[in-house]
Symmetry: C2
Subunit: 253 residues, 2 copies
Amino acid sequence: MNIILLGSGRVATQLGQALHKAGASFLQVYSRTQDHAAKLAAKLNCESISDSSKLRLDADLYILSVTDDALPALAQQLSLKDRLVVHTSGSTPMSVLEPASNKIGVFYPLQTFSHEKEVDFSVIPLIIESNNPESLILLKDFAAKLSTKVLELDSAQRLILHVAAVFACNFSNHMYAIAQELLATRQLDFDLIRPLIAETAAKVHFNLPIEVQTGPAIRNDKLTIQKHLDSLKDQPQLQEIYRLLSQSIVNLR
Amino acid sequence: MNIILLGSGRVATQLGQALHKAGASFLQVYSRTQDHAAKLAAKLNCESISDSSKLRLDADLYILSVTDDALPALAQQLSLKDRLVVHTSGSTPMSVLEPASNKIGVFYPLQTFSHEKEVDFSVIPLIIESNNPESLILLKDFAAKLSTKVLELDSAQRLILHVAAVFACNFSNHMYAIAQELLATRQLDFDLIRPLIAETAAKVHFNLPIEVQTGPAIRNDKLTIQKHLDSLKDQPQLQEIYRLLSQSIVNLR
């Protein structure tokens, strides 16, 4: 199967490399920035282009891995008739690809990607979807080469999964960032809190988070909550976040 | 050094066991519930009591490891003159112990503890404090037997550290819990999101969280944020949390 990859960001890079390792063959990498296209194309051993009119029309699979807000315009630019076109977005409906081809689908890897750090795709859930049964089977087989966890979801289910991922990943990282910020106000090193973060994540590896919640809010320890709120009096936004999240935890009791 | 441990909860149990392993000798375990005292005392090879009047007065160190709101009343009950009395709380000032003794201090292990899962104390930061230099040295030496990370902080600094810990641990776990809840509305298994949680935590092991933030908010991708908010329209509290945390991330840009 010959692939053309459109995009050169974190997801495109990590997914491209993982597919390349798994033996997939790439024809082209497209990016609006020629440098970015060239860098990734070198890794995938294929041609790089920055002009979408130079896109070859004979690939078996076109993977659009660009930011969510760039997807509609990119799909409008393409005219690939019956070639299979997929995107890798969690929150974008498959239908955004309708202008590009009659055969469309989704190939969404549920993970957070870094530019440098390689991830092990074999444990990453791959969420697939297609508007036709043949492409769905093709995507399923294709995904199974990368990961043991392949799941078919429709666009509405995938959106909820993506919102859940924002909470579990983006927002939990923001909680770490707030901790970093608070420690910095007292010249305390972030390193102090790293074992705590590791243990917190490790706990839910075998348990459900609701069952292992700790801290003043789940005990409804109003005295400690008030002490913490007082200590945040100079940071009203953090105080508001603290109050709202504590209330949300108290509501679970 | 002979120790009396007051408390039988998660922190008391884990700390007691770690000290026992490190060769510390316990005289008594006190808990208001005799069963709890007996269970922990068996592990620490010492006497159990549930009546504070039976407390021996000849220990070298009294560790009060009870909930924050139970500390003031417990300290009031004790009359230990010049015996060293410490608590293990992150957010309680050392001064709460003044009624109990003239020699007081703090021994706060910065970690989240489970009832069953044992933790490796050697990497846990131990935060110490005392109202006199001799006890401080004693606590420092004592802590160094358990952990390589011993740090002296005053009560105000410790409070900020504890607030940071609430964000990094309790609130990030709550983010996982919200994800669990959202997945459940679509009959999706929490297991889907476990690799994402592990990777999110792993990322900040070598990086600072502010540097590795991903997701729609840090890109200020308003379209995706709005799609997510719309998908939460039946859960106004989650919607409010989503909005507030996204705004807080946008403000970092």
